[in-house]
Amino acid sequence: MALLELKGIDAFYARIQALHGVSLTVDRGEIVALIGSNGAGKTTTLRTISGLMHPAAGTITFDGRDISSTPPHRVVQLGICQAPEGRRLFQRLTVQDNLEMGAYSRRDRGGIRDSLEKVFTLFPRVKERRHQLAGTLSGGEQQMVAISRALMANPRALMLDEPSLGLAPLIVDTIFGIINEINSSGVPILLVEQNAVKALDVAHRAYVLETGTIVQSGPGKELAQSEEVQKAYLGI
């Protein structure tokens, strides 16, 4: 059984339907990419999983448990954490405070300290900057903090929303390297990206979302070879 499973999800913003029967699964140990153009419903999919909005139809199960109508703070406690689109750091708190907020749902002080150590080895830059206010960091550093903050919850599944958005190519490479590293430590990742080349390269499996519907799915490398995907998203 898949760790995270979406079945026939419909989601609305007021009366506008954003998702039409979206179904997808994320298994233990996987990187699953969700690609698609602007407005395809990628972020909406993540929002329904994290409980920031609730699906009008369909079910979301995590580890065999229905979380379709679970409030966001409960979803985090269950072990799904995300680095939201546009980083959304707490700008006027220090990096350290941001990381501690990431561990808000946890009470095990020792475990939190371990997570902090892990995050600091993963991102030495974040450690250097830990006493600085988050709002004063560069875009790449902020993205690193956003991912670190999500990791501080010790997630059983990590969701990353557009981690490469607005970053210089060199930094994008670093970020994707780290995504791989996090995954190889055993954390399954649901990755939402516009940068299809990078996403398909790193993902085990991928889904293509178009105007709220999944139009294609398969192993990342396979999708990268598919003609439609190449035309629409890879610019080949």
Binding site: S50, L52, P71, P72, H73, V75, V76, Q77, C81, Q82, P84, R88, L89, F90, Q91, R92, L93, D97, E100, M101, G102, Y104, S105, Q132, L133, G135, T136, S138, G139, G140, R149, A153, G166, L167, A168, L170, I171
Partner: protein, 418 residues
Amino acid sequence: MSSATVARPRPGPRRGRIRIGRFTLNLRDRDTVIYLALAIGALAFPTVADFVTGGAGGSIVLLAADAGVYVLLALGLNVVVGFAGLLDLGYAAFFAIGAYTYALMASGALFHTPLHHAIHIPFWLLLVVGVMIAATAGALLGAPTLRLRGDYLAIVTLGFGEIVPRVFRNAGDWTGGINGLSALDNPVLPYWVDGPWAGVGEQFGIVKDLIFSVANPTAWYVLMLILVGISVVMLNNLRKSRLGRAWMAIREDETAAQAMGINTVSTKLLAFAMGAATSGFAGCFYGAKLSLVSPENFQFQVSITILVMIVLGGMGSMPGVIVGSLTVYLILFKILPDAPNQVHSLLATTGFTAIDQPTGDWPGLGEFVSRLKFLLFGLILVTTMLLRPGGLIPSRAEIDVERAAKETSALGLEGAQG
């Protein structure tokens, strides 16, 4: 010679620290220094006031006790506005609830209501009761409204701020209507403090001055200091707690806070309740000291004045809020009301009485100044905010963000990524 005058750093890793038992004061910490200065100033104030006025400092000390009410209110609203970032325009409502709680439960007022029974609960107990009732009111208002964000929340709180005094005014059977309630009980020290062993009436009696009446401003002043002290310690601990950091996370980015697993509704509710609780404290003191509450004392203007104190002092910075509320209080209730008389006497002593005489449209300079009071107040506010946009004593975050912005623009790095 030159080498001898070079200041050498004293040895030891703990320079600038004073240890008192378990507590360490770090004199290099800005906030510690400000708190220390405020505490010393507050303790010395009655003596200094007496000395400067030649033994007639009573009225000033009484005024200072009133200023303390505003300090409490500002500290409480700072939790809501400064920590949690929720704009509350009806804060005076909770102040009113605290004051009316005291008025009803510590006077003969309830005898004239359908209840026909006067209740006289001691002040000290009512402090706790008032806090709990105000906090409950905060939670009750918060529950349906805190799902709103930003401007919408401000409008709802504005409405609440109008409704509460109006209810007190119109429920005349219970609250005395427009006349309010008067002849409220004064606080009395419990017998185990106040008994013969306390040395009342004797020269060296510790608490001989702690009899709460209009004739004894020092008693009120000391009580106020204690209340402010308790509130500062409690709120400061709260600020540093898990809850305090959750408030700040919500202030910075509510959606991100939610995504981090913070239950934003209950966390915001707690901010509202804590803010309201502090104003319940202030309300009880206010009712007891004035021995009178009336709906006129809790108008919209009160809410706005408290908000001005916070913004002027530095939103989210507790020392800033204290200094801000004292400053605004001094300007609003001492300097500006006294200004016309000062002008009168100045003109009289310098011999320019002519421009103080009303002629035609000219009301005379003294009267003119008195008419311009609020224009002057506005000018002071605008100037202060232009000179110190983060407030008189900005919170640390504010300072760092400003500094970073300056550095980035100086290096031409604005908008640089990666």
